[in-house]
């Protein structure tokens, strides 16, 4: 009896290890190879940070990184602002019996490629010159939905009577928002912003479609894609490692903030 349960437990552990290996070994290999001394992408020949150093002097990569930063920050700021207000508006409407929810979350569910084509056609129809600004607009479209979703989740447990209390004590609607509503939902707003930042940093398809021609609006994922067509180099591994590190850190902070809120 005891033997059987031990055997079952060992089998379970093995499966678990295999699953995690499947998930994380490729990433671990990528990170390890980014510190590889030699130029061959798959043969280990000693530890070095030289690929990171060479990244720093690659003008194409630096300009792509700057573009990604601009797109990510701009779309995060806009979508956080609008997404938070949208979440509050939708929640108030829902409390009054209006239905708007599904419409708000559509951009989260629609396949990226569909959204990308739709936005490309839309921008062409408007005769917009494509560039970083169109990528920003496109990223706002889906980031808005994600920020809204995160803030909505917090608002579900929000005690609206505190906004009435604030009005009762003499505050205007704006003062109530600034001094009561926003501080209480702030962890969710920050979490939503970090999520938006993460999504924007590594987004490829939509940026690729809405960037227009020319190097001036190439983002990091697009840069990596164009480099990889000539083979995987340790430089790409190093770049991918940096992108991943940024995303993981932002996501970890975001989740932590979310958890803190639920705990309270």
């Amino acid at each position: 009896m005891a033997d059987r349960s031990r055997a079952a437990r060992q089998a379970g552990t093995t499966v678990l290890v295999l699953v995690f290996a499947f998930l994380y070994v490729p990433i671990a290999v990528l990170v390890a190879l980014s510190f590889n001394e030699g130029g061959l992408p798959t043969v280990w020949s000693g530890f070095s940070v030289k690929w990171y150093v060479s990244l720093a002097s690659n003008r194409d990569i630096l300009s792509a990184a700057l573009n990604t930063l601009i797109v990510a920050v701009a779309s995060t700021v806009i979508s956080t602002l609008l997404g938070t207000l949208l979440a509050i508006g939708v929640e108030i409407r829902r409390r009054r019996g209006g239905a708007l929810e599904a419409l708000v979350f559509a951009p989260m569910i629609i396949p990226d490629i569909v959204l990308a084509v739709a936005l490309l056609s839309f921008f062409s129809m408007l005769d917009l010159t494509m560039g970083l600004h169109t990528i920003v607009l496109a990223h706002v479209v889906f980031n808005l939905a994600f920020v809204c979703a995160v803030v909505r989740a917090r608002l579900k447990s929000f005690d609206w009577s505190i906004t009435e209390a604030s009005a009762d004590l003499g505050a205007s609607a704006f003062t109530t928002f600034r001094r009561v509503t926003l501080p209480v939902i702030l962890p969710a707003v920050v979490a939503g912003a970090l999520l938006a930042l993460t999504l924007s940093v590594d987004e490829f398809i939509i940026a690729f479609f809405t960037a227009g021609a020319g190097r001036s609006s190439t983002t990091l994922p697009m840069q990596i894609y164009s480099m990889i067509r000539f083979g995987i180099t340790p430089e790409i591994n190093a770049l991918a490692t940096i992108v991943m590190a940024v995303s993981v850190i932002a996501l970890a902070i975001s989740q932590r903030l979310n958890r803190g809120m639920v705990g309270r």
Binding site: D159, A165, A167, D168, L169, G170, A171, S172, R264
Partner: protein, 356 residues
């Protein structure tokens, strides 16, 4: 006590879709009064309170504060404050910041805010907790913070929505007295919404009983208890024994043919359907020969309450068992057990007769 009205509620109506939550209520609330709005859930008392605070706008009628129509004035511009049932404390602010908030909205100077908040903290015995956050407080402490936050603004009228609803029974008893003391000390008109008739009886100077959005009676607790306006009020406030029948010259004829003597209300003619009612504490066991209303009942249950004993008596007068309160004294002298037959009686002046 002065009798100048602070608040005049004049034929106020509030509808939500097809539902009429408040249906033509007229009330006048006096300066420094402790006033209770009492009724079962859904009677419209909370809607009425929210209209007084400014969170709802009446569909008809007027609300006058110190002679000025405030029916459409938003909550942040009314010299009226509401203590929320859920307390609605700001979770991200300390006790002190919660209390100071309303004064900051009035743009008072920092020194004035500090001194008034300190004063309020000591009045409500919260000084030691000033730096705590709401989630570090007990229910009773939160209740005091909510009260302090509303009172510090020195409103013309303080509205309290089920202020003691979230407290346990013992604490509630203490807070009833505490609220009365505080109201006396600050000299502000209090309007309390409650569904607890005992709470209203204990605290209020005057009370209004509402049902289905209508005002049934507005008077002192003593008057409401002793002379209820109708059978609903009689049954809602305290405990009442009812007996159905039809009116005769000076009382009603009950189902078993016996007559219950009592004064008929105005406008009730002989031969109409009526209810005779009597309070449990007005019924005597083994009544003296002069008592006119008498009957014999069988003890169905005995409930010991320490201070008194409650008897459930099966009588020929009504389908429901009569409730009789016997002092511990009497109960000791005349021990009773289930199944015993007992004679009971009450004076004609203790009978209340209502239209049925």
């Amino acid at each position: 006590m002065t009798t100048r009205p602070v608040l005049d509620i004049d034929s106020v109506v509030k509808r939500f879709g097809t539902l009429t939550a408040v249906d033509g209520v007229t009330l006048s609330i006096r300066e420094n009064e402790f006033f209770a709005l009492l009724g079962p859930s859904g009677c419209g008392k909370t809607t009425l309170l929210r209209m007084l605070a400014g969170f709802e706008t009446p569909n008809g009628g007027r609300i006058m504060l110190d002679g000025a129509d405030v029916s459409r004035v938003p909550p942040n511009r009314r010299p009226v404050n509401l203590m929320f049932q859920s307390y609605a404390l700001f979770p991200h602010m300390s006790v002190r910041a919660n209390i100071a908030y309303g004064l900051e909205m009035e743009r008072k100077s920092a020194t004035e805010i500090r001194s008034r908040v300190d004063e309020m903290l000591s009045t409500t015995q919260l000084a030691a907790l000033a730096d705590r956050k709401p989630d570090q407080l007990s229910g009773g402490q939160k209740q005091r913070v909510a009260l302090a936050r509303a009172l510090v603004k020195r409103p013309r009228v303080l509205l309290l929505d089920e202020p003691l609803g979230a407290l346990d029974k013992k604490l509630r008893g203490e807070m009833q007295i505490e609220l009365k003391r505080l109201q006396h000390e600050v000299g502000i008109t209090f309007i309390v919404v409650t569904h607890d008739q005992e709470e209203a009886l204990v605290m209020a100077d005057r009370m209004a009983v509402l049902k289905d959005g209508r005002l049934l009676q507005c008077d002192t607790p003593h008057e409401v208890y002793e002379h209820p306006a109708d059978a609903f009020v009689a049954g809602f406030i305290g405990v009442m024994n009812f007996c159905a029948g039809s009116t005769v010259g000076a009382g009603i004829k009950a189902g078993d043919g016996s007559t219950i003597a009592g004064d008929l209300p105005d406008g009730l003619t002989a031969g109409s359907a009526a209810l005779a009612a009597v309070r449990p504490e007005r019924i005597a066991l083994f009544p003296s020969p002069g008592v006119v209303n008498r009957t014999t009942g069988t003890v169905e249950a005995l409930a010991y309450h320490g201070l008194d004993m409650q008897l459930h008596l099966r009588t020929p007068l009504a389908e429901k068992a009569f409730l009789v309160r016997v002092t511990a004294d009497t109960a000791d002298r005349r021990p009773l057990k289930v199944g015993d037959a007992v004679e009971i009686g009450w004076a004609a002046s203790d009978t209340r007769i209502f239209r049925n």
